[in-house]
C-alpha cells in the first residue's frame, strides 16, 4: 500500500517535472523575428516628430511643476515645527485672514492656470499641424483589421492595378500615405510609434490616418486595442523604401503568382489547392480566391508570417501550418495535418511565391 502510494507520488512528481520542462522547452519554441523600430520618441516622420516636440515641451513643464510641488512638501516638512502627541490644536487661524498662505496659494494656482493654458494652446496647435500635413501626391492604401492580422489593399489607376497583401505595409519614403481604416470583426487600432499616433479601426465606420516616412527603414506596428485571444501577436511592419524600389515592389505585387517550375513546387500547388487552405486564403492566378485570411500571392516576398509572429522561413512555415495553435493559441487558422512529403512540397510551393 505504502509502496504503491510512493510509486504514484513519484510518477506524479516525474510527470510534473516533465510537464514543466516541456513548458520551458515550449517557451523556447518561437523563433524571434527581427522587429523594426518601435519607439514613440525615435521618430522617422513629420507626424511623430511634431508629437515628439509637443512631448518635450509638456514633459519639461510637467517635470518643473512636479519638482516645485515636491520642493513645497519638503520645505513644509523642514519649516514647520514638530508637535507633541498631546499638543492642543492651534486655533489662531479661525476668523483670521492668513495673508501669507493665502497669497502663496493664489499665486501657485495662478501660475498653474497659465502653464495649463500654454499646454492647451500647444496641444491644439500641434493637433492642427498634424491635420494639415500636405497630402499632395499621396499613396492611398485600404487597411482592414481582422482577428488577428492586417489586410492591406493597394489601389491603382485601373482596377487591375489593385492588389492585396498582408501584414507588411510598403510605402515610399517622402511621399504622404493615406490609410483608409476599416475593421472586419472587432475594434482594432493601427499604431506605428515611430511614424504616427494611433487610430482605431471600428466595425461599421471608416477612419483615415495620414503620415509620411522621411527615412527609409523598417518600422514595427502593433494592434493597440484589445481584440481578443491574439491581441498580443497582431503586429505588422511598415517598410519605407526609396521611390524606385517601392515602384518595383508595386509592379511585382501586381503580377499574379508565379507558376511553379520544379516538380516539388508543382506538387505543393496541388496540395494547396486540394486542401482546406483554399477555404480562407487566396493566391492570384490560381483558383484559390477566398478572402478570410491573408493573401498568399506573394507570400515569399514577406519577411514574417502570422502577423509578425514568426520569421518567414521553411522550417517555421511548416511548423506554423502543422500547428498554428502552438504559436498563436486561439488563432482562427486550423491545424493542417499533412504527410511529411506533402508538407515539404507545400512549403516549397509557398516559398516560391516571390
Amino acid at each position: 500500500m505504502g509502496a504503491e502510494l510512493r510509486r504514484r507520488a513519484f510518477a506524479l512528481v516525474a510527470a510534473a517535472v516533465a510537464a514543466a520542462s516541456a513548458g520551458a522547452a515550449f517557451a523556447q519554441g518561437r523563433t524571434p523575428v527581427v522587429p523594426g523600430a518601435h519607439d514613440a520618441l525615435a521618430v522617422a516622420g513629420p507626424q511623430a516628430a511634431q508629437i515628439g516636440e509637443l512631448w518635450n515641451l509638456t514633459v519639461f513643464i510637467c517635470t518643473a511643476v512636479f519638482c516645485a510641488i515636491l520642493l513645497g512638501v519638503v520645505f513644509a516638512l523642514w519649516r514647520s515645527g514638530r508637535a507633541r502627541d498631546d499638543e492642543p490644536a492651534d486655533l489662531s487661524s479661525i476668523g483670521r485672514h492668513e495673508r501669507g498662505p493665502y497669497l502663496s496659494v493664489l499665486w501657485s494656482v495662478g501660475v498653474s492656470i497659465v502653464l495649463l493654458l500654454v499646454l492647451v494652446v500647444a496641444s491644439v496647435v500641434t493637433d492642427r499641424a498634424l491635420a494639415r500635413m500636405s497630402l499632395e501626391n499621396a499613396v492611398n492604401i485600404d487597411v482592414t483589421g481582422h482577428q488577428w492580422w492586417w489586410e492591406l489593399r493597394y489601389g491603382g489607376d485601373k482596377p487591375s492595378d489593385s492588389f492585396t497583401t498582408a501584414n507588411e505595409l510598403h510605402i515610399p519614403v517622402g511621399r504622404p500615405v493615406i490609410l483608409k481604416l476599416r475593421a472586419d470583426d472587432v475594434i482594432h487600432s493601427f499604431w506605428v510609434p515611430s511614424l504616427a499616433g494611433k487610430k482605431d479601426l471600428i466595425p461599421g465606420r471608416t477612419a483615415t490616418l495620414h503620415f509620411r516616412a522621411d527615412q527609409a527603414g523598417r518600422y514595427r506596428g502593433q494592434c493597440a486595442e484589445f481584440c481578443g485571444f491574439q491581441h498580443a501577436f497582431m503586429a505588422f511592419e511598415v517598410i519605407a523604401e526609396p521611390p524606385d524600389r517601392y515602384d518595383a515592389w508595386v509592379a511585382a505585387q501586381r503580377q499574379p503568382a508565379a507558376e511553379p517550375t520544379d516538380a516539388g513546387a508543382r506538387r505543393g500547388q496541388e496540395v494547396f489547392l486540394g486542401s482546406a487552405c483554399i477555404m480562407c486564403h487566396a493566391i492570384e492566378g490560381t483558383t484559390a480566391g477566398a478572402r478570410k485570411a491573408p493573401d498568399l500571392t506573394h507570400l515569399a516576398s514577406r519577411t514574417t508570417i502570422a502577423a509578425g509572429t514568426l520569421p518567414n522561413r521553411s522550417a517555421e512555415l511548416a511548423r506554423w501550418i502543422a500547428n498554428p495553435q502552438e504559436f498563436k493559441p486561439g488563432t482562427n487558422m486550423p491545424a493542417t495535418a499533412l504527410p511529411a512529403d506533402d508538407m515539404r512540397a507545400l512549403v516549397a510551393y509557398l516559398e516560391s511565391l516571390k
Binding site: 523575428v33 514647520s80 514638530r82 486655533l91 501657485s108 475594434i187
Partner: protein
C-alpha cells in the same frame, strides 16, 4: 424590542445621560444576537465593518490576480498563462478593483464614519443599507464563482463591443460581467441615496453646511456623482446583455446599432468613476492632514468648492478615452481643455494642504506618512494625466503601458495611499486598538518603493511601443528587463500588503488601547468611545464649529428629549442643521437579506433565461412586501412618541 405596550409612556433621555439611559439606548440600538440576528443586522457600524472587510477581501483577490499577471509578464514568451486565462485574469483584475473594491470601499468607509462624523445615530434607511451590502457581496461572489468555473469575463473591464457582443464572445462569460455591473451599480446607487439623505438631514444641530467635515463633503459630492454617472453604465450594460440574450442590436452596426455608442455610455460613467474613487481619497487627506498638523484646514471654502468643481468637470471629459476613434478633431480639443482644467481644482486642494502643513506643527504618525505618498504619487500621475489629455500625445501613448502606469499612479496615489492612511487613522475608532506604528512604517515604505518600482518602468514600456492587455511579448521587442523589474516591484507591494494584514491581525489582539481620541482630533467621531456604542452618541452633541472637539470647552451641549427605548433620530434642516423633527427608525429585520437573495436569484437567473425576469420577480416582490409591512406594535410606539414629545 423594549417597548412593552401602549400603556407605558416613552422614556426620553436626559442631559447628561444617566447610566440607565445609556443601558436603554444600548438595548434599543444593538443588533439582535444569534445567526438570524447576524443576518438581520442593520446597525451602520456592523454593516460598515462587513462592507470594509469584504471590499478589502476583493482588493486582496484583485491584487493576487495582478500578481499572476506580473508573474506571466516577468519574462518574454512565457507560457505559464495562456491568452484564454490571461484575458480572464486582466478582466477580473480591472473589474474587481474598479467595481468591487475602489468605489465600494469608499462607500463602506463612509457608511461607518459619516454618521459618527455628523453626530447621528444611524445612516438614513438602515434596512436599505443592509440590502445594499448583501447585493454587493452576492454580486462579487457571483463574479468570482464564475471565474473559478472558467466562465469569468474575458473582454476587459470596459467590455468594448463588438468584442463583448454575441458574435465575438459567445458563451456566458460577458453576461456574468454585465450582471455584476447590475449588482454593484444597484448597491452603489442605494448607498448614494443613503449618504445624501443622511448628510443633508441627520446632522447634529449646529453643524451647518459650512461646518461639515471635508471628508463628509467629499462623500456627499461623490454620492451625487454616483447618482448621475451610474445610470449610464447600467443602461449600457443592460443594452449589452439584451443584445446578447434577446438580440436587440443596440451595438450591432450591421443592424443600425453603433459600436461607438457603447464607448460614449461607458466612459460617460467611466471617467466620473475615476473621480468617485479620487474624491473620497481627497476627503481622507483633508481629515488626516489637519489632525497631524495640529490646526484647522487652510481654505475650507476653497476646498469644498474645488470638490464640487471637480465633480462637475468630471462629467465633461469622457471623450479623452476615445481620442483614437474617428470623432471630429475640433470636438476632441474641447475635451482636451476640460481634461486639463480639472487639474485646477486639484491644484487648489494640493496647495491648501501644503499651506496647512506649512503653517502647522506636525506629529509624524503613519497616517500622515501615507498622505505624503499622495503628494509624490498622485501628483506624478496628474502630470502624466496632463500628457494624456492632449490629443496628439494621447494618440501615441493611448492603450499602451504608459496608460497602465498613469492610471495606477492616479488611483493608487489618489485613493489607495490615502485609504491606507485612513485605515491607520480610524482603525483605533473602529476596533478600540491602535495599529503598530513600526509595522505601519514598514508597510508604508515597502508599498511606496514597491509601487514605484512596479509602475514607473511602465511609462517607458509604453513609449517603447508595448500595448496594454497583451498576455505575452517577444524577447526580440526589448521589453524584458523593464517587465522583470516591474514584477519585482509587484512582489514588494505584496510583501507590504502582507505586513498590513499581520499588523491588523496582531493589533486586534495586542494593540495599545486607543481611548476615545488617540490623535487629539477635532471631529465628532472622536468624542465617543472606541469602538462606539450601538447608538453612537449617548446624547446627540450640539456643534459650534468645524472642529467641535477643538473648540474651547468642546462640544456646545447635548440634545435632550429623544426616546431611549425606541429608535428615534433628530432630523435637522438642510442648510443650517436646525432641529426640525424627530423620526422613528426601523428595527432590524431579516427581510433585506431575504430580498437580496431573491434579487440575486432574479439577476443570475436572467443570465440564462429571460423568463427569470418573470418568475424571479415573484420572490423579490414577496420579500419587499414583507420588508415594508407595518407592525402594529411599532406603530403604537411611534404614535406614543408623536403625541408626547
Amino acid at each position: 424590542m423594549t417597548v412593552s405596550g401602549t400603556a407605558s409612556p416613552p422614556r426620553l433621555n436626559s442631559v447628561p445621560p444617566s447610566a440607565e439611559d445609556a443601558a436603554a439606548l444600548e438595548r434599543t440600538w444593538r443588533d439582535p444576537p444569534g445567526l438570524l440576528g447576524w443576518l438581520a443586522a442593520i446597525n451602520h457600524k456592523e454593516i460598515g465593518k462587513r462592507f470594509i472587510v469584504t471590499a478589502f477581501g476583493f482588493f486582496v483577490a484583485g491584487g493576487l490576480l495582478a500578481a499572476a499577471m506580473r508573474l506571466q509578464l516577468a519574462q518574454p514568451d512565457n507560457r505559464l498563462i495562456g491568452p484564454d486565462l490571461y484575458n480572464q485574469i486582466f478582466t477580473m483584475h480591472g473589474t474587481t478593483m474598479m467595481f468591487l473594491f475602489a468605489v465600494p470601499v469608499m462607500q463602506a468607509m463612509s457608511i461607518y464614519l459619516v454618521p459618527l462624523m455628523i453626530g447621528s445615530r444611524s445612516v438614513a434607511f438602515p434596512r436599505m443599507n443592509a440590502y445594499g451590502y448583501w447585493i454587493y457581496l452576492f454580486g462579487g461572489l457571483m463574479l468570482f464563482v464564475a471565474f473559478a468555473l472558467n466562465i469569468g469575463p474575458d473582454a476587459g473591464w470596459f467590455s468594448y463591443v463588438p468584442l463583448a457582443g454575441p458574435d465575438y464572445s459567445p458563451g456566458k462569460r460577458v453576461d456574468f460581467w454585465a450582471q455584476m455591473i447590475t449588482f454593484t451599480e444597484l448597491s452603489a446607487l442605494i448607498e448614494a441615496v443613503i449618504l445624501i439623505t443622511g448628510v443633508l438631514k441627520l446632522r447634529a444641530p449646529g453643524m451647518t453646511l459650512n461646518r461639515i467635515p471635508l471628508f463628509v463633503w467629499g462623500m456627499l459630492v461623490t454620492a451625487f456623482m454616483v447618482m448621475f454617472a451610474m445610470p449610464a453604465v447600467m443602461l449600457a450594460s443592460t443594452a449589452l446583455i439584451t443584445d446578447r440574450l434577446v438580440a436587440t442590436h443596440f451595438y450591432n452596426p450591421a443592424e443600425g446599432g453603433d459600436a461607438i455608442l457603447w464607448q460614449h455610455l461607458f466612459w460617460f460613467f467611466g471617467h466620473p468613476e475615476v473621480y468617485l474613487i479620487f474624491i473620497p481619497g481627497l476627503g481622507f487627506m483633508s481629515a488626516i492632514i489637519p489632525t497631524f498638523a495640529r490646526r484647522p484646514i487652510f481654505g475650507y471654502s476653497a476646498m469644498v468648492l474645488s470638490l464640487i468643481a471637480t465633480a462637475f468637470l468630471a462629467f465633461g471629459l469622457w471623450v479623452h478615452h476615445m481620442f483614437a476613434t474617428n470623432l471630429p478633431e475640433l470636438g476632441k480639443s474641447f475635451f482636451t481643455a476640460v481634461s486639463m482644467m480639472i487639474a485646477i481644482p486639484s491644484a487648489v486642494q494640493i496647495f491648501c494642504w501644503l499651506a496647512t502643513l506649512w503653517t502647522g506643527k506636525l506629529v509624524f504618525k503613519t497616517p500622515l506618512l501615507f498622505t505624503f505618498a499622495f503628494f509624490f504619487v498622485l501628483v506624478l500621475g496628474g502630470m502624466t494625466g496632463i500628457i494624456l489629455a492632449s490629443v496628439p500625445l494621447d494618440l501615441q501613448v493611448h492603450d499602451t503601458y504608459f496608460v497602465v502606469a498613469h492610471l495606477h499612479y492616479v488611483l493608487i496615489g489618489g485613493a489607495v495611499f490615502p485609504l491606507f492612511g485612513a485605515f491607520y487613522y480610524w482603525f483605533p475608532k473602529i476596533t478600540g486598538r491602535m495599529l503598530s506604528e513600526r509595522l505601519g512604517r514598514w508597510n508604508f515604505w515597502l508599498f511606496l518603493i514597491g509601487f514605484n518600482v512596479t509602475f514607473f518602468p511602465m511609462h517607458m514600456l509604453g513609449l517603447q511601443g508595448m500595448p496594454r492587455r497583451v498576455y505575452t511579448y517577444g524577447a526580440e521587442m526589448g521589453w524584458s528587463n523593464l517587465n522583470a523589474l516591474a514584477s519585482l516591484g509587484a512582489l514588494t507591494i505584496a510583501i507590504s500588503m502582507l505586513l498590513f494584514v499581520i499588523n491588523v491581525w496582531r493589533s486586534l489582539r495586542h494593540g495599545a488601547v486607543a481611548g476615545p481620541n488617540p490623535w487629539n482630533a477635532g471631529t465628532l467621531e472622536w468624542s465617543t468611545p472606541s469602538p462606539p456604542p450601538a447608538c453612537n452618541f449617548e446624547a446627540i452633541p450640539v456643534v459650534g464649529g468645524r472642529d467641535p472637539l477643538w473648540e474651547p470647552g468642546g462640544v456646545r451641549g447635548h440634545v435632550a428629549g429623544l426616546a431611549v427605548d425606541s429608535r428615534e433620530l433628530l432630523m435637522t434642516t438642510v442648510l443650517d442643521a436646525e432641529p426640525e423633527t424627530r423620526e422613528s427608525f426601523p428595527e432590524p429585520t431579516i427581510w433585506p437579506f431575504v430580498g437580496a437573495v431573491a434579487t440575486t436569484v432574479f439577476f443570475i437567473g436572467s443570465i440564462f433565461t429571460p423568463w427569470a425576469i418573470v418568475w424571479g420577480s415573484v420572490p423579490v416582490a414577496i420579500a419587499l412586501t414583507a420588508w415594508f409591512w407595518p407592525k402594529r406594535r411599532e406603530n403604537t410606539a411611534h404614535l406614543a412618541l408623536e403625541r408626547a414629545p
